[in-house]
Every structure is written in C-alpha cells, then in structure tokens.
C-alpha cells in the first residue's frame, strides 16, 4: 500500500487492494508533498473553481485542461471510459484564454471539460451509442444539450462508453470495450452511463452527461462514488439523445460535487422546440442553492420532511448498503430533517412494468437500424434477410433480448396483457409517488441494492442484472427528479467501494434536491470520494 504511494507507476496495479480511501487519502497528501489535490476533503465545485481562476487570470484554461488531459492519459488505459477523445480540446482551451484576454464573455461553463455519453449526438465526433450498428456514425447535428453546453463555453472532451443503446447496468454491454470502476478495476462502473460515471470518478473530466432510462445515471453514480442527477422527464431536451425508451429517457448529469451536477443541469435544461415532450416550465437559478458551508445555520434542513421508502431497505439489499443509508439518514436528522418511513406498496411492481415498457419502446426505436442506413449491411439477395442478417449481425445479445421482449409485448393478442397492463402499473406508481410526495419533501432510498460487483459476475444472468434496477426504475416510471450522492462505503476485500443514496423529489423540483444534496455533502464528515487510482496521482 505504501509502496504504491511511493511509486505512482505501480499504483494502478495495487489500488484495488488499497485500504478505505479516507485514510489513504490523508496519508497520501503527506507522503507526496508534490501532489496537487483537486479537492479538499469536502467536495468543492470544480466548475466554480475553474470559472473563478480563469476569470481572475490566476490560472489559464490551458493549465486546467492539461491537468485533466494528463490524468486522462494516465488513467484511461485502465479505466477505458472513453470511446472517443476529442483532438481539439487544447485549441478550444486556448480560444477561451484568448477571449478572456480580450475581455469577452466566455459563458458559465467556460473551460469546463465535459464528457458526453456516446448515445448523445455530437456533430464533430462519432456517436455510436455503444453499438456496432452505428460504428463510425457521425451525426449531422449536435444534441440540444450539447449545443447548449457549447454555448455555455464548455469543452467537450470526448464520448464515453455505455451499454449498447443504454441497455444494461454494467457497461459490459458495449460493443467496443469494458469500462472498469476506478475504485476497483476488477469491478463494473455500473451502467449504462458507466463511462461518464467513471470519467468523473477518475477526474478525467470535470463533469459529464449521461442518460437515465431506468437508473443509468444514478446506479453508476453510486458505483463510482460520484454525484448523479436524473432530472424530471421533460426538463432537458431529448433532441439528439439516441432513443432507447422515449417515454422514460432523460439526459442526466454527473459531477464530483452536487454543485457541479447542478450547474451542469442549469446550462442544459429548459424548453426546446425540437422536443415536443420538453417542458415549458420556467427554470430557476440553481446557483443560489450552492452557498458556502460557512453560512449554514446549525440545523440548515430544519423542518424538511424526509420519507424513507420502507420497501427499499428490506430483503435483497446488501446489509452494508443498508447501514450506509442508515448513516445518511441519521446525518439528515442531525441537519434537522424529520425522517419517517413511508411505504410505496407498488414499488415491486415497477420493475416488471419498466422492463415491459422500456423493451416495447426500444423494439420500436431500434427498428431504424436495419442495415439499409448507417452501414453494417450484410449482402443479401432478398430484403427480409438483409434486415434479419444486418440486425442479427449488428446488435449485441442484451439489445436483441429487449427487442424480442418488446416485440412480443406489443404483438396482437399480447398487447393488453403486457404493454397495457404495464401502463396501468405505471399510473399506479405515479399516483403512489404523488401521494408520498404530498406528505414528504423528499423520499430516500439506496441507489442500488449493492455496491459495484465484479466484471462478468452478472453478465450471463440478465435477470439478476435487471433486479439491480429495482431502486431506480420506479422514478423513471413516475418521471420524477432524483439525485444520487455518495454517502458511505462497503468493504471490498481489504479495500472499499462507495455507496450512494437516492433522494427523490417532486416533479420539476430539482432545486430542492440540489439544496438538500449540497448541504448534506458539505456537512458529511470523515469521507472522501476520490478513488485510490488517482488519490495520490496528482502528478502534473
């Protein structure tokens, strides 16, 4: 362990055996005086730090950018978060510096390196959605979220790995590579936005975009020890997000602090006339929520009614996860919250309903990948075998499984028993959430029943993988916003893996989640969520 600290070169080989991070981190600071921590023990907003530094000319955008790129270069061979890294990052950083020199407006995300999940369209980079069927596909347009990021001055650092078309919970379902969890390279980063979560966790970028259809932002955030924000359905335009299940898909945000996730959301949300399902509701300014800890009252969350979803702490949930959540709950109580248990009897119905609905919609959304367009066409004399062959050849097993399930569920004679039934369950889930949120400000649950597991562990057991989505899918069915933030660790041999807890809010009340999350995070003592992989690597 100490040797790894003394010799960073072999750090990567040993990190998975390292001790719980907070100890390790504290020591590493001492052991490596040259290290330049990007974070104190409490998470700070890197976006605000960068913005402040570059505008005050304390540091240049190029300097920040080089730090991240160096770290990316060092960690990427092990983590494999990215499917594509932009070659223009430094040029864009220089351009921002020039603008600052000329006193031009550079935007609220100026100089912020953002990684984008590869199912979100970028005109200047490939967008494969993790599928062979879209290999080398370059969209003709930027997704609205990407366009807004660029307008805010952000630098798109690259495209991150994912389960093919967002279908999976481990990122092993990518047609290109397996991403590792920066906390333990033998573990999955979660999924489907595993690349985006791992990239933020390994500090390869400042923040990242993911997408969340059934938990694809929140579960990997929990597995990788970062903040994951799933906005209300309709809060962020889906235009340019390669559709998996249109009525559930949302673009979400990763950050290493609540403020970063919130500031990222701030710049991408709002109505978009290109997405008929995007909301016209006004967006408040979230930045006012991210006040310094010095200004907190003694019980800053006094009077906040927190409901713990009782169904989420029972059987099938890892005991260490439960105790981490209990720890988080008592921390919330310390902050002044009144915490009660709340039962959502329909909770267990959400999982099957989700898999019916998501599969049904995906079977339709993926029809366009038929070999006629986007390449990957097999040679055939006959049209139906061209379709069959191209699709059989191009899609991975998990995608095929969901297309088959969805096609079945929508077939004549089965529609009522599956699709329609699942829609009815969805309505029940929505109502029960509504009722629970009428009597509580926020609801709480784990983000996943366990911490990250080993690569390959559930690969051949899709049902076990699906069951891991139990904590998150209901929120998508209800279309609600949810914030996952790290709150503790479970033991992983001699090392530790982070655990996140989920806060669910009322529709379009991201503001409250961000406020509570920020206060929680800024007052949580004794934890640091920087993975050992980079804890003492802040080598420039």
């Amino acid at each position: 362990m100490l040797s790894s600290v003394q010799n960073p070169r072999i750090l990567l080989l040993h990190c998975r055996r390292s001790k719980p991070l907070h100890h390790h981190y504290a020591k590493s600071i001492h052991a490596t005086p040259l290290a330049r921590p990007i974070s104190a023990s409490l998470p700070t907003s890197q976006i605000q730090t960068i913005q402040k530094s570059i505008l005050s000319r304390e540091k240049t955008t190029r300097q920040f950018t080089e730090e991240f790129l160096n770290r990316l270069r060092l960690t990427e061979p092990h983590v494999k978060s990215f499917l594509h890294v932009s070659e223009t990052v430094l040029n864009e950083a220089d351009e921002i510096d020039r603008k600052i020199d000329r006193n031009e407006d550079v935007g609220p995300l100026a100089g912020v390196l953002v990684a984008v999940k590869d199912n979100i369209c970028t005109a200047d980079m490939p967008s494969t959605a993790g599928s062979k069927l879209l290999e080398n596909y370059r969209p003709a347009f930027d997704a609205t979220a990407v366009k807004k990021l660029k307008e805010s001055g952000a630098i798109i650092v690259g495209k991150t790995n994912l389960d093919e078309f967002g279908m999976g919970s481990t990122t092993e379902g990518s047609a290109y590579q397996v991403t590792a969890n920066p906390w333990n390279l033998e573990c999955v980063p979660g999924g489907s936005s595993g690349g985006s979560a791992a990239a933020v966790s390994a500090r390869q970028c400042v923040v990242s975009l993911g997408s969340d259809t059934g938990g694809s932002v929140r579960q990997p955030a929990s597995f990788c020890g970062v903040v994951g924000l799933k906005p209300t359905y309709g809060r962020v335009s889906r235009y340019g997000l390669v559709a998996y299940a249109s009525s559930l898909d949302v673009i979400g945000c990763f950050g290493s602090s609540v403020a970063d996730a919130g500031l990222l959301l701030q710049s991408i949300c709002g109505h978009d006339k290109l997405d008929a399902t995007s909301s016209k509701r006004e967006v408040n300014d979230f930045t006012s929520q991210f006040i310094s800890k010095d200004y907190f009252e003694s019980q800053p969350l006094k009077g906040l009614r927190v409901g713990v979803i009782s169904e989420t702490l029972g059987d099938g949930v890892d005991q260490e996860v439960v105790s981490s959540i209990r720890g988080a709950i008592s921390h919330l109580e310390d902050l002044g919250c009144s915490v009660t248990e709340v039962s959502l009897p329909s909770f267990s119905l959400g999982l099957p309903a989700y898999y019916v609905l998501a599969s049904s919609e995906s079977s339709s959304n993926l029809s366009r990948y038929d070999g006629v367009r986007y390449g990957n066409q097999i040679v055939s004399d006959e049209l139906s075998s061209l379709y069959g062959g191209s699709r059989a050849n191009g899609f991975g097993p998990e995608v095929k499984r969901r297309i088959l399930m969805g096609t079945y569920a929508l077939s004549a004679g089965y529609y009522d028993a599956y699709y329609k039934r699942a829609q009815q369950v969805r309505t029940v889930v929505q109502k029960s959430f509504k009722a629970a949120l009428d009597s509580h400000d926020i609801l709480i649950s784990p983000a996943a029943p366990s911490a990250a597991y080993k690569i390959g562990e559930k690969k051949n057991d899709p049902l076990a993988m699906y069951a891991g989505d139990i904590m998150t899918v209901n929120v998508n069915l209800a279309g609600l916003p949810a914030l996952v933030l790290p709150c503790g660790f479970v033991k992983d041999g001699t090392a530790s893996l982070p655990v996140g807890f989920q806060m669910i809010g009322a529709a379009f009340d991201e503001e409250k989640l961000l406020r509570v999350g920020h206060i929680f995070e800024q007052t949580l003592q004794g934890y640091s969520f920087i993975p050992p992989l980079i804890a003492d690597e802040f080598i420039s």
């Binding site: 347009f141 290109l274 079977s363 339709s364 029809s367 055939s380 004399d381 049209l383 929508l410």
Partner: protein, 545 residues
C-alpha cells in the same frame, strides 16, 4: 445526403406505390389543369376503348342482376401544408431526390418529431366537412413495419382514437349514369405521415431511396362499405377530391399521388346478408381507372362464383393494370399483418378545445354539396349544377360573375360554353385565363343592354380571355358599339342595295332567298355592329318596296 443505395436486393415485384410511380413516369403532366376540371364521367368518356368499355358495362350489368357489390374505399390525401408533418422541411413534388429532408424526416438517431399544428387544422376542417364526430382528445400511434422507404421503421399514424369518426359525404351522380343523390358513410379520418419512395433501376440490381416524401402529412379517410358500383365509387372519390380542394387542404392531384385511393371490393348474391371475400385494389391513378377496375373486379369475382370456384376468390391485394385493363394479384394476405401499434411516446396527446373547433367551423367555405343545392335552388339544371360546382375555381368564378348579373342562366352558359372550350383548348384553369368574373358580368350586361351584339360579345370574350382588359375599353378601342339608330342602318342598307342592283333584280324576280345575302352585306358593311333585328326589319321593307 446522397442517395442511399442498396445492392443486390430483390424487392417484392409489385409495390403499393412504386408501380404507381413507374406508371407515373410515363405520364407527362400536361393535363394537370384539365384534370382539375375533370369529372369521373368525363374521363369515363375518354376511356381507351369504346368497345371494351361497352362490353364491360354489359358484363357488369348482367352480373348485377344476381349479385350485389360491396365497395369500401381508403383514401390518402396529401396535405398541402408549407412544411412536413413533424419537421420544418418544405416539400415540393418533383424536387431533386433527397433534397427536401432533415434529420427528423430522415429518422436519424436522436431526432424527434414535433407536430405541425396546420395538420390538426386540416384534419379538423376535413372532419367537419365530412360531418364527422371529432375526438376532442386523440393521440398518435406508431405503426411498425420494415420497408426501405420508411426510415424510422415505423409510421406515425393514429390507431384506436382517430381525430374524426362517423361522418358522411353527399354525392350527386352524373346524369349519364342515371343521376340521383347518394349519401356514403365515412368511418374515420386520421392523421399520419407519408413514406418515402423507392426508385428501382431497370435491371433491378439495386434500388434507390428518395426520402423527400417521408414525413409529408396525410389524412387517411376510410369509407363505410356503402358503394355498390364502380361509378358510385368513382363519384365518392371525386366528391372527396372536390371537398379537399374546396377546403384548400390538398391539391387532390391523383397523378402526383396527392390523392390515392385503395378500393375494397366483394360481391354477394342478392339477398344474402353475409359479406363475400373482399379483395383490395391498388394503383388506381384516376377516377375512371377506379370505376373500370371495380367493374372488372366485380365481373371477375362473379365469373368465379358462377363457375363454382368460390375458393379462388381470396383475400388479397390486386393491382390495376392500365395496359391490359385488368386486375392482377400483387400479394396474397397471410393473415392480418401485425403492425404492433402503440402510443407514440415522442408526441403529446392532441387536445382540441371547443373554441378552436368552433373557429374552424365558422371559417369553413361553402362546400360542394351546399353549392350544388344552392345552384339547384337558383333554377339551374342538374347538368349545369354539376358542371359549375365540380371545380372550386369555376364555382368561385361563377359566383363572382352572378354577383353582378341578374341572368344566371346566361352566365352559366358563357362559362360552360365558350370559356370552358377555351380553357380546354389552351389547357388553362379558369384562374389562368385573363378574363375576370367582373368583366364577364360586364360583357353579359353589355349584350343584354344591346350595347354590343352577341357575335361581337364572343369576339370580345376571346380577346378578354387571351389578353385581358376591360369590356368597355375594348368596345371603345375597336369602336364596336352596336348600331341601333334606324336612320344609320337605313343608310347602310341603301348603300348595299345601290351597290348590288343585279341581286336586287333577282330578288324582286322571286329569288327571296337573297335576303340573306343582303343581310350579310349589311353586317359586313357595318363591321358586324348593326343590330341584326333592325337590319332585317328595315332590309325587308326596302327590298319589298
């Protein structure tokens, strides 16, 4: 985007629209305007062969003594909105392939549909015009099937809650076919998007996809199985065409595919309640083709039943072949296709308010049926009524003309006579000729008041249609005012008689037929301006003096 090519694919030999397309390629659109004024009965008269025509009519007549035909029609009307249904692309028929496309109508990953509100407006207009019940809340659904002209792998359509249901359309049958009024039921009207087009190469080694048409808004109108003959079916379709043109929601052009009809035909012995097996006919590019195809199909099915080959009448899609004047099998149905409809998650529900519907109802134009009833009440014959109300432009021209003229019949005659003939010869629509309804009124008034003669009127009309201008201006310019002064006419007559002593002698010798000669000479001398009545009266007096 370049054309998408795919190599080595054998597509189904006969496709719903591809064959329509290839047939279309040989049709040059010289007759676009005349098509607009054409009724099914007129095309009927232009049918390729009078012999086969008569033979078929007789065959059908014979068949219909024992059998009753049941005909239902599905019509797709392409809306003439400025932009497509779900994106902001303009669509112009005949544009370069793949030049009217964007990520949305190409179905690119990540692109999303946003409904063009004009589509709803058109649907509500047509729903009201067809006397339908409107669904105040409806939704879009996805109809899923694979085909290269369908870039998303599904068509956005409406399935279980169409925007309009349960209406009817009133039709007046042409007099040549016995006339009479019919009311045909409309089952539903729903909104959907069109697919692209496939262009097959000559040797079929590859096909090309043109997505210009993909995403163009359509209204699908499904009729009740209320039609009994080819003529009724063709008249139903013609009336639908009139309605969409009156409403201005579509150009209704069949050759361009803006109005496409698929017909379901079955027959059953008269008196039997149970329906026979129905056959769908596609590739009907004109009303006349529709009528002929249905008659052929009725005769074909009856022949099979008569021969005891009942099992050979199967549920299938047949294609009308214009060349052989026959329907041929396109594909046999293997059970019902499963389109796996489900609600389109990318689009919110379509919610209509009472206010919105009322506003549209209040702004509806006078529809063909209302026009026909009004013309009928004005005392016009059914022949005139059908002619005038057939083309919305003609009807509007007529209405504008009679706003200032008391003699309605005269106005109708001018339009149906000289004006229609000129339009037909020059292949122009009534809006393209230079004559305005105001000038036609003026012309009619000038003739009635005796300012000009009818003959001069015809000449002026031609001038007005060709070059425009005003009646007054032309009369002045050419000095065409009729001579009604008897003294002046007398002078001319005296001159003519003096110049033709030989003929006068012959006349007085008993060859009274020469009066015509003298009258002609007088008209010639007066440059056609002399009032013919006065000329005859005075001439007779002088000749017989």
């Amino acid at each position: 985007m370049a054309l998408t090519l795919f190599r080595g694919i054998q597509t189904r030999p006969l496709l719903p629209y591809s064959s329509a397309f290839s047939a279309r390629k040989h049709v040059i659109f010289c007759s676009m305007q005349s098509t607009q004024a054409e009724t099914s009965m007129k095309t009927k008269q232009q049918a390729p062969s009078n012999f086969t025509e008569t033979a078929r009519a007789k065959a059908v007549e014979k068949v219909l003594k024992d059998y009753e035909a049941i005909i239902g029609i599905e019509t797709h009307v392409q809306l003439s909105t400025t932009t497509k249904a779900f994106c902001s692309c303009a669509y112009n028929y005949g544009s370069q392939p793949n030049s009217c496309v964007c990520p949305v109508c190409m179905g690119l990953p990540g692109a999303l549909p946003v409904l063009n509100s004009k589509v709803i407006k058109c649907a509500v207009m047509l729903g009201l015009a067809l006397n339908c019940k409107l669904s105040m809340t409806s939704k879009f659904d996805r109809k899923q099937y694979f085909y290269p002209d369908l870039p998303k792998g599904y068509q956005i359509s409406q399935f279980d809650i169409p925007i309009a249901t349960n209406g009817y359309i009133d039709v007046d049958l042409p007099l040549e076919f016995g006339g009479g009024h019919r009311r045909f039921g409309i089952t539903r009207v729903h909104m959907e998007e069109d697919a692209g087009k496939l262009l097959h190469t000559g040797n079929r080694s590859y096909s090309q996809v043109d997505l210009n048409r993909a995403g163009v808004p359509l209204l699908e109108i499904v009729s009740e199985p209320d039609m009994r003959t080819g003529i009724e079916a063709a008249e139903y379709a013609a009336e639908l065409q009139r309605v969409v043109r009156y409403l201005g929601v579509s150009n209704g052009n069949m050759q361009e595919g803006s109005l496409r009809c698929d017909v379901n035909v079955s027959i059953r012995p008269i008196g039997q309640e149970q329906f026979g097996t129905k056959v769908e006919i596609k590739n009907l590019n004109s009303f006349s083709a529709m009528s002929r195809a249905i008659d052929f199909e009725i005769a074909r099915q009856a022949e099979l039943y008569n021969q005891g080959k009942d099992d050979e009448v199967v549920q299938e899609t047949r294609l009308w072949e214009e060349g052989s004047q026959k329907t041929v099998t396109m594909r046999k149905k293997e059970g019902l296709a499963d389109y796996r409809y489900f609600p389109e998650p990318d689009l919110p529900e379509v919610i209509l308010t009472e206010e919105y519907v009322n506003d549209i109802r209040d702004s509806l134009p006078e529809l063909p049926e209302m026009k026909r009833r009004r013309y009928e009440e004005m005392g016009l014959t059914m022949q005139d009524v059908l002619f005038l109300a057939n083309d919305v432009q003609v009807a509007e021209f007529f209405d504008a003309t009679i706003a200032k003229v008391s003699d309605i019949k005269l106005a109708a005659n001018w339009i149906m006579g000289d004006i229609a003939a000129y339009m037909k010869n020059e292949k122009l629509s009534i809006n393209e000729i230079k004559l305005s309804p105001e000038e036609l009124s003026e012309l009619i008034a000038s003739i009635k008041s005796g300012t000009i003669s009818g003959k001069i009127g015809k000449e002026i009309l031609l001038e007005l249609m060709k070059k425009g201008g005003t009646v007054k201006g032309l009369i002045e310019e050419k000095d065409l005012v009729q001579i009604v002064d008897p003294a002046e006419i007398e002078k001319i007559i005296d001159k003519v008689i003096a110049n033709n002593p030989k003929q006068l002698e012959q006349y007085r010798g008993g060859k009274t037929k020469l009066q015509g000669f003298f009258a002609g000479q007088v008209m010639k001398e007066s440059k056609g301006k002399a009032n013919p009545g006065l000329v005859n009266k005075i001439l007779l007096e002088k000749l017989n003096a």
